[in-house]
Amino acid sequence: MKKDNMIIRDLIQETYSAVTANKARSSLTILGIVIGISSVISMISIGQGAQASIESNIQSIGSNLIMVMPGFQRGVSQVSSGRGSAATLTLEDSKAIEERITSVSNVAPEVSRRYQITSKNSNTNTLVSGTVPAFTAARNVEVESGSFVTGEHLKSLAKVAVIGPTTATDLFGENSDPVGASIRINKIDFKVIGVTKSKGGSGFSNQDDIIYVPISTAQRYLSGDTSVSLISIQAEDAGLMTDVQEQVTSLLLERHKIKDATQADFSVMNQSDIVATASSVTSTFTLLLGAIAGISLIVGGIGIMNMMLTTVTERTREIGLRKAIGAKEADISNQFLAEATTLTLVGGVMGVILGWVVSKAITSLAQINTSISLKSVLIAFGVSAAIGIVFGYYPARRAARLNPIESLRYE
């Protein structure tokens, strides 16, 4: 079988001997690509790590959650008191959701506000959330020691509190067991009956710095009215969330006697919407990091081009000879393209390895989550091969177009 160009085996051999002919120069050029690829890999791993940890943070507040928050009340005047501040949601709304909406596994109303808390020898200011037993299931709260709020507590308006691990430390110090101790919330005595397990939450809502009390107690002794500040609804299945969200919206519109959905005095948020919003932020962040690192990759590519141009000039006579003995333009340009691509691919492999090492180092030294996906590795290879072709193309064309007679005379 005769083709028009060199046999692949010959091309590989020619490329090998050309690349190894000047080892120092080839290595430095490869180094440029290694730095480029590894910084892209490690930067993207930081971005993806951030994305993963934000997503897992959002997932830690519960799964398949739909949250209903009070909206702002429209009175006669145009003054709005701000979303979430109105007292438009009640325990009855929560009960109606529980009774009338199918495919809901848990409904947990909540009334929360910050109060000053004092213990025997310490005091702090934290969020006090009045809630129901279903809250543990809906919001993935587990109790480390003692127990959570029960139905009995609700009925008897018991002054009991379950505190988060951070609050426990703030009030009672490290490694203490506050179960049985007494704290004062808004100058009312509560008995601590449990401590929740740490959720490792961070950011603007620390789920470990919180105090849970029965919702009836909170309404009677703390807030003084019957409104609730949040209803957490857990759908039975992730696929049913949109459906549940729609059902909840129409039920509450009906209960609140509102005809126009845009005038709703509450808002319904879907957990997957929150995840999507957060993801779009972090993927922009990832893209930005990747783009910055990409600049070094371009610089590496220019290094390839520089080396290839030098090589073409140095090997002018050799190119002339090859053409004289029958090499076609395509043979010559393939040979130089193969050289450039070999350099970038070797750089790509080493860059992926270095990038992996760097991101592991970032994780262990700077405590920043990183995550390397197969996708970013594959993209790195694709990009490094493309760089070889793009930056190798011009030198290769230049070599291929050399006139054999003039090249043979070149000094």
């Binding site: 085996r9 003995i325 029958g326 076609k328 007679i405 043979l408």
Partner: protein, 226 residues
Amino acid sequence: MIKCDNITKTYLTGGHETHVLKGVSLAIDKGEFVAIIGPSGSGKSTLMHILGALDSATSGKYFFEGEDVSELSEDALANIRRHRIGFVFQSFNLLPRASVLRNVMLPLVYAETPVSEREDMVKKALISAGLPEELWGNNSNQLSGGQMQRVAIARALVNSPSLILADEPTGNLDTETGKVVLNTFRSLNENEGHTIILITHEQEVAMYANRVIQIRDGYIIKDEKR
């Protein structure tokens, strides 16, 4: 085998036309050993480039083995060179870091000769060119000038081309080594029947050929068989 019909070559340099060949006609038969001799600037190198399918004439016809090559594309010319012409240059033009064997094999790479046949062809060519076997594994830059030119001759022979073109093959060699190389050409012509065209400016070198074509100022001024 080779027929040139009123070939001219004109270069345009800086808006100024230089007529290097002004109508050259010649015919060379298979098995001839021809020397083209002329002073520098006579047009002998240009003629050699056209004969070697490295360049095309401005006007006139050039037939190589009966095929009109005056109008062929670059790639078509490359095809003729890779299969049917072997070159020997004044400055050898070997790949410096490659072994003798790889240098001689190079034309086979472009001719896409099957790998299994290459070694025999290379060895045969090296034997014909008279390079001692113990040097075959050496890198070409470890050889003397005469040895390098023998490698270059072997490279020209390896494809069994119809024509061997030697451009001042002794120009970089001392007289003694030059004689050895020229005798190699003569024996290739006499014993193996190769057609050889030798370009030179030295009368003594031309004496090794059976036919001497003298060229001056773009014209053939003398063509004699001996």
